[in-house]
């Protein structure tokens, strides 16, 4: 249905710049599977958190000074002197955590319902790129307050590149703009931390373009057979997304107002000291699993390679998962391995938060090995040997019952 209006002005603009037609097409009548669960809220939620991060970030940049002598003091100035500065900074710092939390749920939703499978591979790749840019942005943002964790986190992460044979040391010097982390490093990190969120916006646009090409996957993982399987995005999913947003904002407000430093490291309230490393260095929680993988390899280059592989392996996921069935709901074996995989990621997170000694060292190695075994061995084999449960004929069928669309084998609700 084309866009209709009685307003002459709107018609005049729309004829020259079809923004109203576009909004109508992709936000209002956009046909969406009618069975999306609340797990499908996290995409739009991630987009909203990105906007919160950009708005608070632009405002914080009005008061922050990217210089090693003033950075720490300017952050304290924001906390104490600037009107509502404490609120804006806590929103931004906890917003980063919230962003990763929301995005991780979004990704695991994709894992479970096979959202990476044909024809959504490029959509999945763009998502991985978004995750990588998010990580770079979050890391550089964490350096800006110029506390102890900022400084030493920056030292450790940039030194990852020194593991590259031959040119590694030169690359690190180039990244630093000197022979140690210093003012040039802080300045370029600030510049890039300001730039990358807009790169993210661009990637999100492409992600949405790819999404709207074939539409959302759904909990059943089957394609829509016709218009009877779709409902318009507005009002059904605008309202559902809005409700999810309200719930998110309540949880986020509790975190931000009552436990604003719960996810932070107290050491970052000590100004950076290039001569003393804190006793126990940890990244922010959302990077801990990757940090655990890095540390579980006794070899410098090996650890770095394995850590980057843990993300790059996701690019192969559409081909590693050999099952023709998308949704984990109809995959009894995959379902169990998926649960183990979630537990494995949580174990890696806990290991990453603890010093690499004794038990943690061993558990970390096992969990790291299992992470790769899951992708490289279990997924291809499960897809091969598993016997999926029968798929429903259409999205409407499980809702309306078998009578709506005659089918020989209706899916049972419980496995």
């Amino acid at each position: 249905m084309a866009f209709q209006t009685n307003s002459k002005l709107v018609k005049w603009i729309d004829y020259r710049l079809p923004i109203f037609t576009m909004a109508q097409h992709s936000l209002i009548e956009y046909p969406t599977p009618k069975n999306l669960s609340y797990l499908w809220n996290f995409g739009s939620l991630a987009g909203i958190v990105l906007v919160i991060q950009i708005v608070t970030g632009i405002v914080l940049a009005m008061h922050y000074t990217p210089h090693i002598d003033f950075a720490f003091a300017s952050v304290e100035h924001i906390m104490r002197d600037v009107n509502y500065g404490w609120l804006l900074r806590y929103m931004h710092a906890n917003g980063a955590s919230a962003f990763f939390f929301v995005v991780y749920i979004h990704i695991f939703r994709g894992f479970y319902y096979g959202s990476y499978k044909s024809p959504r591979e490029v959509l999945w790749f763009l998502g991985i790129l978004i995750l990588l840019v998010m990580m770079a942005t979050a890391f550089m943002g964490y350096v800006l307050p110029w506390g102890q964790m900022s400084y030493w986190g920056a030292t450790v992460i940039t030194n990852l590149f020194s593991a590259i044979p031959v040119v590694g040391e030169h690359i690190v010097t180039w990244l630093w703009g000197g022979y140690s982390i210093g003012n040039p490093t802080l300045n370029r990190f600030f510049s890039l931390h300001y730039l990358l969120p807009f790169v993210l916006v661009g990637l999100v646009m492409l992600h949405l373009m790819a999404l709207h090409q074939h539409g959302s996957n759904n909990p059943l993982g089957i394609d829509r057979k016709g218009p009877q399987d779709s409902i318009p995005f507005h009002p059904y999913y605008t309202v559902k997304d809005l409700f999810g947003l309200m719930v998110f904002l309540v949880v986020f407000s509790i975190l931000m107002f009552y436990f604003p430093n719960a996810l932070g490291e107290p050491d970052n309230y000590i100004p950076a000291n290039p001569l003393v490393t804190p006793a126990h260095i940890v990244p922010e929680w959302y990077l801990l699993p990757f940090y655990a993988i890095l540390r579980s390899v006794p070899d410098k280059l090996g650890g770095v390679l394995l850590m980057f592989s843990s993300i790059f392996i996701l690019f192969l996921l559409p081909w590693l998962d050999t099952s023709p069935v998308r949704s984990g709901r109809f995959r009894p074996l995959f379902k169990q391995f998926f649960l183990i995989f979630i537990i494995d990621c949580c174990v890696l997170l806990v290991v990453g938060a603890n010093p690499p000694e004794g038990m943690f060292k061993i558990v970390g190695r096992i969990a790291t090995a299992y992470y790769f075994i899951h992708f490289l061995i279990i997924l291809p084999l499960v897809g091969w040997f598993e016997r999926p449960r029968p798929l429903p004929q259409s999205i409407s069928e499980p809702v309306l019952g078998a009578g709506a669309a005659p089918s020989p084998a209706p899916a049972r609700e419980k496995a």
């Binding site: 708005v55 405002v59 009005m62 008061h63 100035h77 104490r80 002197d81 600037v82 009107n83 509502y84 500065g85 609120l87 804006l88 009002p235």
Partner: protein
């Protein structure tokens, strides 16, 4: 989207729905405004800037005939220790000669001490002291002239140099702001 209930009837449902729309929108608008306010207010002067909004000046070293410039809120403030001649010039000026008539007595707390903000009321330049035809100030930007009471005598400036709020803490000490 219209819903027709069995017991209510269409019109009743519609008015309830309208009420819900209005109530929810109003609630949302208030919430949005409250959320936007910190983002606007953060650009107002911060606590450390407000803390600099008063300046204390020791008058003892300022001899008669001297003008000193102090900084208050990032702007220059002229403190003129006026001579007897300057005071009489200021007090005896005819109101009809003034562009922005104001008696000298209304501009000073003690006749020897004139305290004015040293920003030309035309476009914000800092006028030069003891210059111009009225023994007061002359603005180098567009030629405005002020007399020994800081009153504008020749345009284009539209108004007198403003007198900041100040108080004598002792006979030789004032606090501006």
């Amino acid at each position: 989207m219209t819903t027709i209930t069995k017991d209510g009837g269409a019109s009743d449902t519609k008015s309830r729905r309208d009420f819900l729309y209005v109530a929810a929108s109003a609630f949302g608008a208030v919430g949005a405004a409250a959320a936007i306010w910190p983002f606007i207010n953060q650009m107002n002067p911060s606590a450390d800037v407000l803390a600099l909004s008063s300046t204390e000046v020791d008058l003892a070293p300022i001899a008669a005939g001297m003008i000193v410039t102090v900084v208050w809120r990032g702007k220059p403030v002229f403190i003129s220790h006026r001579t007897a001649k300057e005071i009489s010039e200021a007090q005896n000026a005819k109101m009809s000669d003034l562009l922005d008539p104001q008696a000298d007595a209304d501009r000073v707390q003690k006749p020897e001490w004139l305290v004015v903000v040293g920003v030309c009321t035309h476009l914000g330049c800092v006028p030069l002291g003891h210059q111009g035809n009225f023994d007061g100030w002359f603005c180098p930007c567009h030629g405005s002239q002020y007399d020994t009471s800081g009153r504008v005598r020749v345009g284009p400036a539209p108004a007198n140099l403003p007198v900041p709020p100040y108080a004598f803490l002792t006979d030789t000490k004032i606090r501006i702001g």
